[in-house]
Amino acid sequence: MSKIFISYRRHDSPGFAGRICDHVNLHFGNEAVFRDVETLEGGVDFVEAINSAVGSCAAFILVIGPRWLSAVDAKGNRRLDNHDDFVRMELATALARQIRVIPVLVEGADMPSAADLPDDIKAVTRRQAIEISDARFASDMDELTRALKSVLGQPKPTPPGIPSPVSAFVPPSHPSNPPPHRPFAAVAVPNHLVWSIISTACLCMPLGIVAIVQSNKCTSALAAGDVSAAQSAAANAKKWNLIALAAAGVVWFIYIVAAAINAAQQH
């Protein structure tokens, strides 16, 4: 279950929200963050979905960019004034359910004043905000991580003496390809490529090939910085690897049964 909910405006600060999300994922595990209620499947009651998603979280990160307050919809009405505005609904739900709301100000945005907000989210102005700037991203994120840790009570603090990934890249591990100082993607999403190769070579090639394609997709998406696409491709690769394993297992079982029947008939 997600422990941290990230709320942001698509038209305001999706890039920053994504970076914050990735960073929080690194600290609290891939399953920790819930975002994008908008990607719900059809037929799902979104009020209920927001309620259960926000309600199950221990902390609520509210990403506020320069256009968070003033964003308007196609008709020119301010989005925050609309009762169906996702951001407002998420925030109002979090405040009503007394979930720890941490406003995060990005791209130089200011904390809105209570007078500019509808009644059901005015209370957010009384929450301590954290400012995250591009130039000081790593140290600003540490501030947020500390705040989250105080809510979630985990994880353990970093052991001292390990260099920051911002200043030092991790040395490469590929023994057949060891040029020095090659950077790696900052976020670790397992692409399951080796598993896919093993599935292809030892279990069932057609299904393993599909898994390799998904692993490649994961790697490319990660290189392009699209972590959520990388995660879904990785999940697909895993799925096809499991299907290959199941297919091989079923055929192996049938083979053994067939061999046993053969042997019994020859007796």
Partner: protein
């Protein structure tokens, strides 16, 4: 509203390249041990002489030699330092075995130090080339001409 301590503070250490979860590290260690165990088993048991490793669904049903055909026998040959025989069983093993070794090394580093290494740069291109090779190899080893027999798994 803004905290005063976000300004004028030296940048503190970040742990973005560390996996904070001990369970993840133990899992990496377990994967290394699993591969090592599999290698020992493959070194001791010759897949050419037994069916304990199962049968290939594709080969059993269709008779095709896919790009993975002979991979276990090739791995057995590599573990006995017989690279020529390994290529005779499955030439792709020369490409995939180093990748698996690299992955085991990365997992071992994660298990021991907590450093989680991402895929090296070039992995995306490597994946595409690997796919193309697998498809070409599959086509080539199924061409029913005697001159292509050398590409099908065979004992030297």
């Amino acid at each position: 509203m803004r905290p005063s301590n976000t300004r004028g503070r030296p940048p503190s250490r970040s742990s973005a390249d560390l996996s904070p979860r001990p369970l993840a590290r133990q899992l990496s260690g377990a994967r290394c041990l699993a591969v090592a165990g599999g290698a020992v088993l493959l070194a001791l048991v010759d897949p050419a002489k037994t069916r304990v490793f199962g049968v290939c669904p594709l080969h059993w049903i269709t008779g095709f030699h896919c790009a993975g055909c002979g991979a276990l026998r090739a791995a057995h040959a590599i573990l006995h330092a017989n690279l020529v025989q390994a290529v005779a069983y499955n030439g792709m093993a020369l490409v995939t075995v180093p990748v698996i070794l690299a992955w085991v090394a990365a997992e071992a580093i994660h298990a021991f130090t907590g450093r989680r290494l991402g895929p090296p740069r070039g992995t995306a291109q490597f994946g595409k080339i690997l796919l193309a090779l697998l498809v070409l190899y599959t086509v080539a080893r199924n061409i029913p001409l005697a001159s292509f027999d050398g590409l099908r798994p065979h004992v030297l």
